[in-house]
């Protein structure tokens, strides 16, 4: 049959042959044909190896195993191991046969059973058959003993509780002379130590001397033809012993002492010109590095490592790098010496070696060597392969971020990386760069000029273009007037029109994507105030995009246009320089998961004019009406985080209509306020900031803050805060309707009326601990709106599974009438999906009035969405 299959020229032919054979086999099985049974099973196994389904053969295996003859059993077990695995239920049926075979008088049959059990047994089978296997550990035949030992390994891996039973028999195996039994015995002890600490203690106390002696004997033994490999007697045994010694010596000084001599001997006398010797040295070095400190040995080990690293054989270098990674934990200084070699390895043509070397370099970096190492890595970035670029870029970026000694260096390096491999740079990285830039106010001029130069050089790397465009938009005036020149800079003349040119390129270039173009549009808008001379030209460019087929661009350009034409008075306030972005917030945000799924909570007022369609449609509709005619009605869903810019544009539209002027462009002050609310903001007015974007990345929210003046939510026409005087509040008054809620320690939340009926009102006051955003403390206050007193007042609450609720006892259970008093009760809610799902709660309130029981139930949906 095999010949027939191999003779097939096409896959279809092969399938046909296989199908025919399968049919024949199935027929034979059904007829219970005994003669060709094992031939058929062999065929079936081959077919299985080719990848075809063969489950109909599984019962055949079982039948063969159950039959009496050795040949049948043998092929049956092989079939079992090939065609089945531990997840199949059919396997359970074999347990009985296995039990009988384990007790068979023919040792080879016992061996077959042990083999099958050791390779594919499940946990139940292991438990059932463990006593038999244990008994076999002392069988007369050494071959059976060794199989039993390995089988036990699987058993204890599957059922760790049984480990203690195997401890004593295992230790007696260690005293054997037969190499096979010794190897397997040592392996069994090793696994026992991994699984059970009791076993570890036992072996540590009783067996170390024996093991050391065995290792010594083996190392010193004369030539033995049976076990010799490349001049070393039984390297496998060496290695197993070393492994076990490692486990026993780890963390225990006495044990480690016993081993030092033999380890020194092995390390210094093993020949390393063949693979077997190197394997032993590798294991030996690992052992030395893991056990308790011994200066001399460590030096020996590091020397060996050094030799490995400079070996020409790739395998050895790989292994050396691996070892170094583990050794670095123990002795970092010694590793630094090898820095140059490791850097060489990063440039190696072998991908496995490159990867390891790169990881090592990453571990090696500290404050003192970060500059030269980064320089080397960036140089390498230029010549590395495409597949590898992504990895290297990520590593370089995180190195720069962690260790950067000064801002200017940071910015320089990031610029280089962006120019070289910007397309591989992740969003968080360039967002962080923007944050740093905005924080380094003295470097603004320098940065924008450098970016301008880089941008003129090439527009290939998308992230570079984005950062450049943002900076030019923000700091365009510095660019043109050469503000803040540093000594190291060369003078550069950039006219306003050059700057506008640059951005125009960004808009028009066909390869750049939506985000970049959108950013470019707003940058232009910013420039329209900073460069009044170019205002007309900018207007034209923006105008050109009015008919863009991309909704985002169209929307923006129309709005900007609108502002440019009709609302000149607020334009400058709108595009004031961005406040310094809060770095702490950024890192906090990166750490926590402030994912910004669009909240569809019923805090309808504030949300999401953009990016979230349905629930917010109504208020938005209003706003859209207020704004100028040519704003397109449909709200784009999905799309860009920078869409929240829309928010700004709409609200000022409503401002003029109510006639209130915007607050004196307190400009920076007010915007600085913005900053303090940059984080999960207080007030219903701005949970939006985070929710606004339709994407779920935190960084997008950050940028939403950044580029938006954004957290400026849209104050809906039905503004909730009575404090705000005029109807549609001025743009910049929006946030913080309840200033006293602002809490020095952590973000503050407004209280809500959680439940209200004709007879009862329940309000919730929220607070959070500053470091713990997931847990909210709620103080519930109940007031009685009726003229009757309520007795036996009981409040109960239920929360969905992702929340945890703790209720403290209430202050009392009598609620005086007509609001003459109140009951308070504290709750603590922990939101395991903080940031992703808002709080929700169902409540039941029971009380007695005039001796009648009343039950009120409700659901609270108006939690602030960022709790």
């Amino acid at each position: 049959m095999i010949r027939a299959i191999r003779a097939c020229k096409t896959a279809a032919e092969e399938r046909a042959v296989v199908r025919k054979e399968c049919a024949a086999i199935r027929a034979a099985i059904n007829e219970n044909d005994h003669d060709y049974r094992h031939r058929n099973l062999a065929k079936l196994m081959f077919i299985h190896m080719l990848g075809y389904p063969t489950h109909f053969g599984q019962m055949e295996c079982l039948k063969l195993i159950a039959s009496a003859g050795f040949p049948e059993k043998r092929i049956g077990y092989l079939g079992l191991m090939l065609l089945l695995d531990e997840r199949q239920e059919v396997l359970m049926l074999v347990t009985n046969s296995l039990k009988q075979d384990l007790n068979h008088s023919n040792q080879y049959i016992v061996g077959l059973a042990l083999c099958a059990l050791g390779n594919i047994s499940s946990a139940e089978m292991a438990r059932d058959l463990a006593p038999d296997v244990e008994r076999l550990l002392q069988f007369r035949d050494p071959n059976t003993r060794k199989k039993a030992a390995l089988c036990s390994i699987r058993i204890i891996k599957k059922v760790p509780d049984l480990a203690e039973n195997f401890m004593y028999p295992a230790s007696s195996l260690l005293k054997e002379k037969h190499h096979g039994v010794l190897i397997t015995g040592v392996q069994l002890c090793t696994d026992l130590c991994k699984v059970s600490s009791e076993a570890l203690e036992y072996f540590r106390e009783n067996c170390i001397e024996g093991l050391v002696k065995t290792l010594r004997d083996i190392a010193n033994s004369p030539y033995s033809p049976e076990y010799d490999m490349a001049g070393i007697t039984d390297p496998f045994l060496h290695i197993r012993l070393l492994k076990l010694l490692r486990l026993l010596g780890q963390g225990d000084a006495d044990a480690s002492d016993c081993m030092t001599d033999i380890l020194a001997q092995v390390a210094s006398r093993t020949e390393s010109n063949k693979n077997a010797g190197n394997a032993i040295l590798y294991e030996c070095v690992q052992t030395i590095m893991s056990i308790e400190d011994n200066g001399g040995l460590r030096v020996l080990a590091i020397n060996i490592l050094g030799r490995f690293l400079s070996n020409r054989d790739n395998n050895i270098r790989y292994v050396g790098l691996n070892m170094l990674m583990k050794a670095i934990v123990v002795d970092a200084k010694a590793i630094q010496r090898h820095r140059a070699t490791i850097l060489e390895c990063v440039k190696d043509s072998d991908a496995s070696i490159q990867k390891r070397a790169l990881e090592l370099v990453y571990l090696l970096v500290n404050e003192s060597n970060v500059k030269p190492l980064t320089k080397e890595l960036i140089e390498y970035l230029e010549v590395s392969d495409q597949e590898f670029k992504g990895d290297i870029t990520a590593k370089i970026c995180s190195l720069i971020e962690k260790f950067s000694p000064e801002k200017i260096w940071y910015i320089d390096q990031m610029l280089k990386v962006l120019s070289e491999a910007g397309n591989f740079v992740k969003d968080e990285v360039w967002h962080a760069l923007i944050v740093v830039i905005s924080n380094a106010s003295d470097l603004h001029g320098y940065t924008v000029r450098a970016l301008y130069r880089a941008f003129r050089a090439s527009t290939e790397q998308e992230s570079l273009v984005r950062v450049a465009v943002w900076c030019i938009g923000e700091y365009g005036d510095m660019l043109v007037n050469n503000v803040g020149m540093l000594d190291i800079e060369e003078p550069i003349t950039v006219t306003e029109s050059d700057a506008v040119d640059a951005i125009e390129v960004a808009i028009k270039h066909h390869r750049l994507d939506l985000t970049t173009k959108a950013m470019a549009l707003i940058a232009l808008f910013k420039l329209s105030t900073r460069f009044p001379a170019c205002s007309e030209r900018i207007k034209d460019i923006i105008f050109q995009n009015k008919r863009s087929l991309v909704l985002e661009l169209q929307q923006r350009s129309i709005e900007f246009n609108c502002i440019l034409q009709k609302y000149q008075n607020i334009r400058s306030a709108l595009v004031e320089r961005m406040p310094v972005l809060d770095e702490a917030t950024l890192s906090g945000r990166k750490a926590g998961s402030l994912a910004t799924t669009v909240s569809t909570s019923t805090i309808a007022p504030c949300n999401l004019p953009n990016g979230v369609a349905e629930p917010a449609a109504a208020p938005i509709g209003d706003l859209l009406d207020l704004s100028s005619d040519d704003v397109p009605a449909p709200i784009s869903s999905g799309g860009d985080f920078l869409q929240d810019l829309l928010a700004i544009d709409l609200s000022p539209a409503s401002a003029p209509s109510s006639g209130t002027s915007l607050p004196p462009k307190a400009g920076t002050d007010v915007l600085l306020d913005l900053l303090s609310i940059g984080t999960p903001s207080p007030g219903e007015s701005s949970p939006s900031a985070l929710d606004m974007s339709s994407s779920t990345q935190d960084n997008k929210a950050l940028l939403a803050n950044l580029n938006g003046l954004a957290s400026l939510s849209l104050l809906p026409a039905n503004a909730t805060s009575p404090e705000s005087s005029a109807g549609a509040m001025g743009l910049l008054d929006v946030f913080d309707p309840n200033p006293q809620k602002r809490d020095e320690n952590g973000p503050a939340y407004p209280s809500i009326v959680a439940y209200e009926s004709n007879s009862l009102r329940m309000t919730f006051n929220f607070s959070k601990q500053p470091g713990d955003p997931q847990t909210t403390f709620i103080q519930a206050t109940f007031t009685n709106r009726s003229p009757n007193v309520y007795d036996d007042f009981l409040f109960q609450a239920a929360v969905p599974k992702f929340l945890q609720l703790q209720l403290d006892p209430a202050s009392s259970n009598i609620l005086p009438a007509s609001g003459n008093g109140s009951i308070t009760q504290n709750l603590k809610v922990t939101n395991t999906q903080h940031g992703k799902k808002p709080l929700a709660m169902r409540i039941r309130i029971a009380y007695k009035v005039n001796d009648e029981d009343v039950l009120e139930q409700g659901q609270i949906n108006n939690f602030p969405s960022d709790l």
């Binding site: 009496a68 092989l78 008088s105 040792q107 042990l114 390994i153 490999m229 390297p235 290695i239 991908a351």
Partner: protein, 129 residues
């Protein structure tokens, strides 16, 4: 993961490696050690903390035993006698660990079992030294 998918994926990874590169590949969190003998690749998948150089030795050990058994083994031997190759493997590795470091012993065991096969019914096994 299903058997043939594994093979296909690994096959792709290993076959695309050049000759001078090292014999270890990282794959799905495991390490795969492979060694090439003429047109055959022997691959072993191991954990992160196993000794790769030793595994190379194990592969070589296996190949030498096969060679001794089949007499100058070639690919066709393995294809047409895959069940015998498996029997040998079963004497060498069990539960993922090495069973016997002596080629002579393995050969003896295989021979003994062949002898068993020739008998039509089971019998109390002799202990072969």
């Amino acid at each position: 993961m299903c058997f043939e998918k594994v093979i296909r994926e690994l096959g792709g990874v290993i076959l695309s490696r050049g000759p001078k590169l090292c014999n270890f590949v990282d794959w799905r969190g495991f390490k795969v050690v492979y060694k090439r003998y003429a047109s055959l690749y022997f691959c072993m998948c191991i954990d992160q903390d196993d000794n790769e150089l030793e595994v190379l030795e194990i592969i070589h050990h296996f190949v030498e035993i096969l060679d001794r058994y089949f007499g100058s083994v070639c690919e066709l031997d393995l294809i047409f006698n895959f069940h015998k190759a498996y029997y040998i493997l079963d004497e060498l590795l069990l539960a993922g660990e090495l069973q016997e470091s002596s080629k002579k012993t393995v050969a003896r065991l295989i021979a003994a079992q062949v002898f068993c096969l020739m008998e039509p019914c089971c019998f109390n096994g002799f202990t072969f030294q």
